[in-house]
Symmetry: C2
Subunit: 420 residues, 2 copies
């Protein structure tokens, strides 16, 4: 495939997206159910393709974590099929008309929700992203152009084939789903220039990929996924609660973007809180990178080390956390403003006014009082599913579900109205 | 001013915007009322600066229309002050909490509307844009960085001074309003790179400016203002209504982006409709650029000429219109899809199914049945005011009012919730 062929595929997706954008919910749900069935019925072909990917990855010396991300098996396929059925059962955002009213001159005017058009996705070695993104795009009436990493190319191609067959079986245009079945890296930059055909680009993967896509794309990008998340334990915190929430925010899944990176502890409660946290974390293998006051309280404990400047504002994605003692809520807020990435931030407090100030003043996609930042997730937030988590300010912020893959048009109904 | 000083100004706007974002509605409205008073009280200084701009423009040989755009007088200042008071009276979008609900696990979660941050504006020779944009930004809690064209620099500087004094008099940080008081063109490209400090860029001016800003800006842009607008007269149209609406859409104000550019007429009604339109338009000096079937119906009439290919999809901004006879609604829809700019499109019809298809299938910011496209305007749509008209799909479409200058953050209230 060369850049011209890629452009042609994108154009086909755009053309087909116009049909998909007007498709009935029944037809779109039919496509989704056919995809769920296809994942099971064509499971053997998918797993065969995945075996080739995994063998190649082993030959290329990928580490165990990367191969696990790549690996599919029957259970994972069934899980994917179940997830597709969940999306089929979600309400269709398209066609909702809102803010409809009659103006004093008798014009009826409102906004009608319509698909964005074509969603582009650039991702790495998780083949399930192929299905995740395609299904959310289809349900919200969008076409999709999928570009996956070289390691998962065969698996993702097999999954994209299932998606396209499902779309066609429901009488919808399979050209709405385009899969780039070439590992040529120059196609990525061509894709990022295809502003005429792709309305929104979604990068899914590591920080380098996200940065590259954000800086290079000619179309809007949902730039998310990078989460430097703080939890501040206020002087008035319930320390039992703080221990459970801070522990959960770090340890439940340390490798996801909403995991805790830095604990800020008010100096009044640091002497009682930090030793309890260090004891809990030592038992779970969490390394604590401490500022000097914290270090003084935790001296000679296992897995306690001195923090360097680079630890503040660092996304660990591992069983490591930075720990800082602060003099006040103000200092905590200033630290979060300086080092946070605008993803998820939490305060643990029993003080009403501290909770209110934190909610008011912290500028992040998700701001918590007395809860774990690991809740930042489309399904947890009641959106049913998510295409990604936005840390930008425009269009959508935080978990992006189906509604966030739509825009609106104004519809105006007159009876021969002319403007004076 | 050099690029470093510009960056410093942008940083100041960003820092001050955090204070402004938490300011009370009372304080913000106080600033707006002080600005309205300042426009009158400091009117002599503003008009003196404007006289210098106008004299320089005459020396530079600007044409009368351009000098009229530049010109301020007491009446125009009073009009600006009245417009500022209108914005002060609008509801404040900031702080509205929506989609708030309690999840099955007891977590309370919702979205709270917050300012975007800092709005950048790059505009040409209309000094009133200085006040328009600054006031909408301030009301919605945003900072603003203003860059106006060389011709209006003195006038706009005087107006920006009134704005800053008004902000300060209300106890808010005047650094939230930054005016770039240098005509150096290299500062524009520096401004377009200031992604760290400016959250949304609004270009206001001609097509070249808008294209340049859209293609060069590192931050999101509200790209609007280019409107290639069609009105389709269906076979079932009430032709008296069609005549009034088509005439209004072109002639009321031919130089604005929502003005009609192309009339599409169904062939069944073209013989009765087009001669009436030609008679009306000849009396108002509207040139009709016709395809062959239309030309055959209007042969030898005044101001009727043959259309060239470049007339389709052209934004005339003048008393000129392209005229095309189509065989069907399908042909009209296909023409609009190919040549429209996604701004405002209208159908004149008495047929229910034609109206429904037009509403469903036309992909534009504003889609009309039996009304003039000149209604596409923030005030007309009930938004109170507008910062611009977006023809993009992301974030906001059509007229952008105060709400469209905001984003939201998720707020989550727990009682020690941890994620299983």
């Amino acid at each position: 495939m060369n850049a011209d062929e890629l452009s042609d595929r994108c154009r086909k997706a755009k053309d087909a997206s116009r049909v998909l954008g007007r498709a009935s919910t029944t037809a779109k749900n039919g496509a989704l159910r056919a995809i769920a069935e296809g994942l099971v019925d064509q499971g053997e072909a998918i797993l065969q393709a995945n075996r080739l990917d995994c063998e190649a990855a082993e030959r290329d010396g990928l580490n165990a974590a990367m191969i696990d991300r790549l690996l599919l098996n029957a259970e994972r396929l069934w899980g994917m099929a179940a997830d597709v059925r969940v999306v089929a059962d979600l309400p269709d955002p398209v066609g909702e008309t809102f803010d409809m009213r009659t103006l004093p001159n008798g014009l009826q005017i409102g906004r009608r929700r319509v698909p964005l058009g074509v969603i582009g996705a650039i991702y790495e070695s998780r083949p399930n992203v192929t299905v995740d993104i395609a299904v959310l795009a289809l349900k919200s009436g969008n076409g999709v152009v999928l570009r996956c990493g070289r390691d998962a190319l065969r698996s993702s191609a097999a999954l994209a084939d299932v998606v396209r067959r499902g779309v066609a079986s429901a009488g919808l245009p399979q050209e709405a789903v385009q899969f780039i079945d070439s590992p040529d890296r120059s196609l990525v930059s061509a894709l990022l220039r295809a502003r005429e055909f792709i309305d929104l680009m979604v990068p899914r993967g590591g920080a380098d990929l996200i940065r590259y896509v954000t800086e290079s794309a000619a179309m809007p990008v949902v730039a998310g996924g990078i989460g430097v998340c703080h939890t501040y334990v206020d002087r008035s915190a319930d320390l039992d609660m703080a221990l459970e929430v801070v522990h959960n925010a770090k340890v439940r899944r340390p490798t996801i973007c909403n995991a805790l990176d830095t604990v800020l502890v008010h100096r009044d409660v640091a002497p009682s809180f930090l030793p309890r946290l260090a004891e809990r974390w030592a038992a779970h293998g969490v390394e604590m990178r401490c500022d000097e006051p914290a270090l003084a309280l935790l001296a000679a404990r296992p897995l306690v080390v001195a923090a360097g400047e680079a630890d503040w504002g660092y996304e660990f994605l591992a069983l490591k956390a930075a720990v800082k003692v602060v003099d006040s809520l103000d200092e905590a807020l200033a630290h979060i403003e300086r080092y946070g990435s605008g993803h998820s931030e939490a305060i643990i407090t029993e003080a009403y006014s501290a909770a209110m100030r934190f909610l008011d003043e912290v500028d992040a996609a998700a701001v918590y009082v007395n809860a774990s930042t690991q809740f930042t997730d489309g399904a947890q937030f009641g959106l049913g599913a998510e295409v990604g988590i936005s840390t930008q300010r425009i269009h959508a912020r935080g978990p992006m579900g189906l509604r966030e893959l739509t825009t609106y048009k104004w519809v105006i109904l007159g009876q021969g109205h002319t403007r004076p």
